[in-house]
Symmetry: C2
Subunit: 248 residues, 2 copies
Amino acid sequence: MRSVVVFYLCFLLCVGLGLACIICVCVWNSHWRGGFAWDGTAQQFNWHPVLMVTGLVVVYGIAAVLYRIPLTWGQNKLPWKLLHAALMFITLVLSIVGLCAVFDFHNANNISNLYSLHSWIGIAATALFALQWVVGVAGFLLPCSPVSLRKLLKPVHVWMGGSILSLSIVACISGINEKLFFVLKGTINGTQPYSKLPLEALLGNSLGVLIVAFGLVVLRILSNQNWQRQDSRPEDSAYTPLPQEEND
Amino acid sequence: MRSVVVFYLCFLLCVGLGLACIICVCVWNSHWRGGFAWDGTAQQFNWHPVLMVTGLVVVYGIAAVLYRIPLTWGQNKLPWKLLHAALMFITLVLSIVGLCAVFDFHNANNISNLYSLHSWIGIAATALFALQWVVGVAGFLLPCSPVSLRKLLKPVHVWMGGSILSLSIVACISGINEKLFFVLKGTINGTQPYSKLPLEALLGNSLGVLIVAFGLVVLRILSNQNWQRQDSRPEDSAYTPLPQEEND
């Protein structure tokens, strides 16, 4: 019982941090970065951080801990699998549109694509996630997929899931850091420099801290064996979360 | 037997990636960034990436997987605890000197300290690590520390350990990304711009990829329950790695 209460407190913290991330990235880009458009200007770029943080961090993280909700344990797993896949599909769409926003903006302004370390890590995270989603649907949702294949896939799927979230957070932090240096240049573009920590810098840094905190809480939830679904079906026997502990 | 062979292959990969990280960061800063000094110039700054990557990523990561080496399983744990603590002490010294290098450089050049997101994440990683080391020595090495305290501390120590490595990697990637934008400015400082991916950019990006790969391998090793030390002493019963799987 204590374990269930602690889970819901952690889950509440996770949802709260996730919402704070979304609010923070939206306020930053709407209020401080000039809002949104799809016209090749910096306003198009602004969709990039909003969609990547919302998709590949927040929705992804919530979808990852879905099976841990005690409410779902006694129920048929299929609807929860469908919800997991559907939320991950939303993540996939948000992150692809988020990538289109930045590629389009770069192309419209003759800026090279995929040269920075941020972009290398970010594109790797998105590509691995797309692969993970396709293999996940084929392996765990198609009725023709054999139990032996599911058993083989599960630890890989779980491991990849945690790694993709980690890559995604690394990409977000390097991206926010880079963006704040780009836009807060002091006298060069008439802003207060990043080094003086104006309000926008505090907001951007806080967004970074919130994203890291959200990621740590998600991985903490996944790490607790007491919060794992106790399912005796064969395809579930190999299911273990990426980071898992014996004790609460 | 197969599990032991796979462990040593993973451990070899881990050591190989770690060495590659150290070589890469040293070559970058000695050959491309002008080498090392302790005189308040950019050459003093160069110690910062070298010491942080060597300390808070590579030595830290190797020290973290030490207990997983099958060779150590049947032996008295104390010498391995001492080696773990000693390697972590080396990490602590390297990271403190690495921080002094950048603070000194900033102070000598009237550059503000601790304003960027990179610095916030990095200082949090180092501060948490210093706390973790002190609490670890007091809790697990001092003979007067009661078994009940060790039992309580272990899951927290293990969880913090993985979180600190993750924070450290996030700080490294954002730092390398930031540095490459700072120094590869094109016509402004007579270099080839980052966007043209000159050799230095490729080297820096590769260093970032190697650091991420090293981190994922370390967390993968920690995640495998088969590679956990099977110790029946009371203070070990609560010891479970941060990320752990039931199956190999």
